[in-house]
């Protein structure tokens, strides 16, 4: 490759379809013409001036090397990362990633300097994992920044960042992060292979990778963990998981994933174990209420009034009297209403959202009840189950579908159907082994050693060994 500052720049511009944001700056350096080629919106102007233009223009020393490329790389360019490209395509790729290319007349190489302008929003507490106690830092959309947040917490030589580039068009940077001595190498290999085999135009968010990483692709159930907080990610990595950080996404994926993870919260590790046991039991009850309560209610109403205490039955009878819909349609209607309100609420601007809650909860609900369209117990049951969804926010989306199935089963088959439905779900989830970890572990298969942090949590000093339910290098003990 023979570089001609002007022609090569033209060549690059042509390759990029004469995009208007491709800019250049010509400089004379000891008689040699140098073209600095960059993409304006993603290049840091200040850095460009300070680390390239200023040294090139003001260089007054003698040239030590005959090789101008080597001279520039070693003595002139004041940039931390100078890459040498021998072919034009790879140089263009880097240009697109925010590098500024140094095109030197007559040279056979192109130099690239990383002058990417990092536009980062401020580190804030992620809305999905708010804690009372504990760190409040959350990931942002910048990969580099996110890696910095992780690095800040990890000062070990064991920590590995493995970069991949996915997406034909977007060329998105994806980083695999893990502790080399803790992680199961086969899991890393498996994940890497899966990621490398992805053929897609673009990765716009980490969730694009989920369907490539999960074993049961069409399943409703979540099979890849995610977090927005570096402390949680490091905690998971210390247990032997691999983190997948994607440029442009504040959500970091973690693998392997077990169902119990979502029952745990980062707050749990910053509070007393007794409180944790109570809260986790509460979450478990919450899950059951969220999924089964409307189904059980409809089953009791349609088939098993015998089970209801007489006083309770009277209350229900009195309040459902005169409702024009059958109980099944009534519940479906309320669930539908609830889901619509939920969708509208989260998509609306915040100031609208508040008004929406008031309209939804007070006006619609109250009016529907007083108009005799729906009964108060049905509204209460659906609302209660709706609230309990968010006791485990990570699973809320699948719970709403499960709740709907629960209602259909309850209305069609009663308690018997609901129990069979529960067994079916358990049976279905029992097969969700992925990345050498059982989905329902440590409950099934029961792993005694891991009970220290399952439905209850022991004190930190008692949790000496890494969990067995996660595929990891079990020989190491946590160095606490």
């Amino acid at each position: 490759m023979k570089v001609d500052a002007v022609k090569t720049f033209e060549q690059i511009k042509k390759k990029l379809h004469d995009s208007s944001d491709i800019k250049s700056r010509m400089v004379q350096f000891f008689g040699t013409q140098i073209c600095l080629c960059y993409i304006a919106p993603i290049t840091d102007n200040m850095l460009l001036n300070e680390s390239l233009i200023f040294p090139l223009v003001n260089f007054s020393k003698e040239i030590k090397n005959n090789d101008i490329v080597k001279e520039l790389q070693d003595n002139v360019l004041a940039n931390q990362e100078v890459t040498i490209f021998t072919d034009l395509q790879s140089a263009i790729d880097k240009l697109l990633a925010g590098n500024t290319l140094v095109l030197i007349d007559g040279a056979d190489k192109i130099l690239g300097c990383d002058l990417e302008k990092i536009t980062v929003r401020a580190v804030a507490e992620p809305p999905t994992s708010v804690v009372i106690k504990g760190p409040r830092e959350g990931f942002t959309e910048s990969l580099k920044f996110n890696l910095a947040l992780i690095r800040k917490r990890v000062k070990s030589d064991d920590f590995v960042v493995k970069m991949l580039e996915i997406g034909e068009m977007t060329k998105t940077q994806v980083a695999l992060v893990y502790f080399d001595s803790i992680v199961d190498k086969k899991v890393v290999k498996d994940i890497t292979n899966r990621l490398q085999s992805i053929k897609i135009d673009g990765i716009l968010d980490s969730h694009y990778l989920v369907s490539y990483l999960q074993r049961n692709k069409k399943s409703l159930f979540k099979q890849v963990g995610d977090t927005e907080k570096p402390d949680i990610l490091v905690g998971k990595m210390l247990e032997g998981r691999v983190g997948i950080v994607v440029d442009g996404s504040p959500i970091v994926l973690t693998l392997p994933f077990v169902l119990l993870e979502d029952l745990q919260n980062s707050d749990d590790y910053y509070t007393q174990p007794i409180r944790v046991a109570f809260v986790r039991a509460l979450r478990l009850v919450g899950v059951i209420l969220a999924v089964l309560l409307p189904g059980v209610y409809i089953a009791l109403e349609l088939y098993h009034y015998k089970i209801l205490p007489t006083e309770f039955l009277i209350t229900i009878m009195n309040s459902t009297q005169g409702i024009p819909f059958s109980p099944f349609i009534e519940i479906l209607f309320i669930i539908l209403l609830f889901e619509i309100l939920y969708e509208a609420n989260i998509r609306m601007p915040q100031y609208f959202g508040m008004a929406m809650s008031i309209v939804g909860a007070l006006i619609l609900g109250d009016t529907a009840v007083s108009a005799g369209l729906v009964s108060p117990p049905a509204v209460m049951i659906v609302a209660l189950s709706g609230i309990t969804f968010y006791i485990i926010p990570g699973q809320a989306s699948q719970f709403s579908i499960l709740r709907l199935i629960g209602v259909i089963v309850g209305a069609s088959l009663g308690i018997y159907g609901i129990l069979l439905f529960c067994v079916f779900i358990l049976s279905y989830l029992s097969n969700f082994d992925s990345y050498k970890s059982a989905y329902l572990a440590p409950t099934s298969p029961y792993i005694e050693e891991d009970q220290k942090d399952s439905y209850m949590r022991k004190t930190i000093d008692e949790m000496k060994k890494r969990p067995k339910s996660i595929a990891n290098n079990k020989k190491n003990e946590l160095r606490r």
Partner: protein, 375 residues
């Protein structure tokens, strides 16, 4: 797709308690009156001992499945005959459970029902669980086991205060004959370890702890004894009129507080235990059919099992009649041979095979030596 030792222990535990809490206690009472506790106790202890015989055989089989193991010990013809016997035993258990489940659901939970609509979801569930294999059933058992145990203990303790200990006296008034009689007539409700035949080659003995298995068996016996104690002590002479032991105990011990009615939900948990057991024994039938007819893949055997389940529901109100015609006359014999004779037979056959093998080895060695001497 192996199950670990703990899961096997739980499956044994579940199998030990599965058939015991519906009609069995009242049936036992007809023959052995207040001594029915002892009948259950003795047969369960014998079943417990046979668990260890079968475990021993499993280890001796060295990862072979039951078909290969029996074939190596008894030859192909006898093996196939035994497989037929085992299928009958499993079919008997599946029939018993599905009948019990059907009446339990219908009598206790619904006032109007269409059993055909009810059996379809059950078939789908059982078919799915069999398709996913024994590890799936083991894991589900592991998940639901404690919920069921807590439910049973709750029901028993709630009613314990109403038990009249005097109703258990005098003990052995009519000698042991009624006990033996009752044990023989109702032996088909026992033989809880027979499912283990189909577990040959599917158990991982890595974490084997005999004490764990012993604990689970003792626990199962204690729970059955506790509930039977409550049942017989509570209902005394009216025991034969109670076909659903746990629901009747729960209902009778209901006080007049409102929350008590909700104990029905605990009782209905029993459906889960029944469904899991149905899946286990249906799996055993499917597996045995696969060995018997050398079927490849699971689908055909699963369809046969599902059709069998469907047939039970088609019988409708005639279930009891059909059961009396087809099963009752042979039930005791089938169970007795499958559970109590077969393991011993296999032990003996294996010992003979070993002796023969050793003899052959010695002979070969001698021949080799003689050849060497001749050289």
């Amino acid at each position: 797709m192996k199950v670990n030792y703990r899961q096997l222990s739980i499956m044994v535990f579940m199998s030990f308690i599965a058939l015991k809490f519906l009609a069995l206690p009242s049936l036992l009472y007809i023959e052995s009156k207040n001594m029915s506790l002892f009948v259950a106790l003795i047969l369960m202890i014998v079943d417990g001992l046979y668990v260890f015989v079968l475990l021993d055989l499993m280890k001796k089989s060295e990862e072979k499945n039951i078909y290969e193991f029996m074939k190596s010990c008894l030859g192909p013809v006898l093996t196939k005959a035994i497989l037929i016997l085992l299928i009958l035993k499993y079919a008997l258990v599946v029939g018993n459970i599905s009948k019990g489940l059907k009446f339990f659901v219908v009598e206790n939970l619904y006032s109007e029902y269409n059993w055909f609509v009810f059996v379809l979801p059950l078939m789908i569930l059982i078919g799915f669980m069999i398709y996913k294999g024994v590890r799936n059933i083991a894991r589900v058992s592991e998940m639901v086991c404690w919920a069921i145990v807590i439910g049973l203990i709750y029901i028993a303790l709630k009613a314990l205060s109403g038990v009249d200990v005097l109703s258990f006296l005098p003990i052995f008034k009519d000698g042991f004959k009624p006990l033996v009689n009752s044990a023989w007539i109702h032996i088909s409700w026992f033989g809880s370890a027979t499912f283990m035949f189909m577990m040959f080659g599917f158990v991982d003995f890595k974490d084997e702890k005999k004490s764990k298995m012993i604990k689970y068996i003792i626990f199962a016996i204690l729970i059955v004894q506790l509930l039977y104690f409550v049942f017989y002590g509570l209902f005394e002479v009216t025991c034969p009129t109670h076909n659903y032991c746990i629901s009747d105990i729960s209902q009778f011990s209901s006080t007049y507080s409102a929350i008590d009615e909700l104990s029905w939900l605990v009782v209905s948990m029993w459906i889960v235990a029944q469904a899991v057991q149905l899946a286990l024994y249906s799996y055993c039938i499917a597996q045995a059919l696969k060995f018997l007819f050398d079927i490849k893949g699971n689908i055909v055997s699963i369809i046969i099992v599902m059709l069998y389940l469907l047939a039970w529901s088609f019988l409708g109100e005639n279930t009891i009649k059909m059961e009396q015609i087809f099963f009752t006359p042979f039930a005791s014999i089938i169970t007795f041979i499958a559970q109590y004779i077969l393991p011993l037979l296999l032990e003996i056959a294996f010992a003979i095979k070993k002796v023969n093998k050793n003899k052959k080895k010695v002979k070969n060695e001698r021949n080799e030596k003689e050849v060497k001497v001749n050289i």
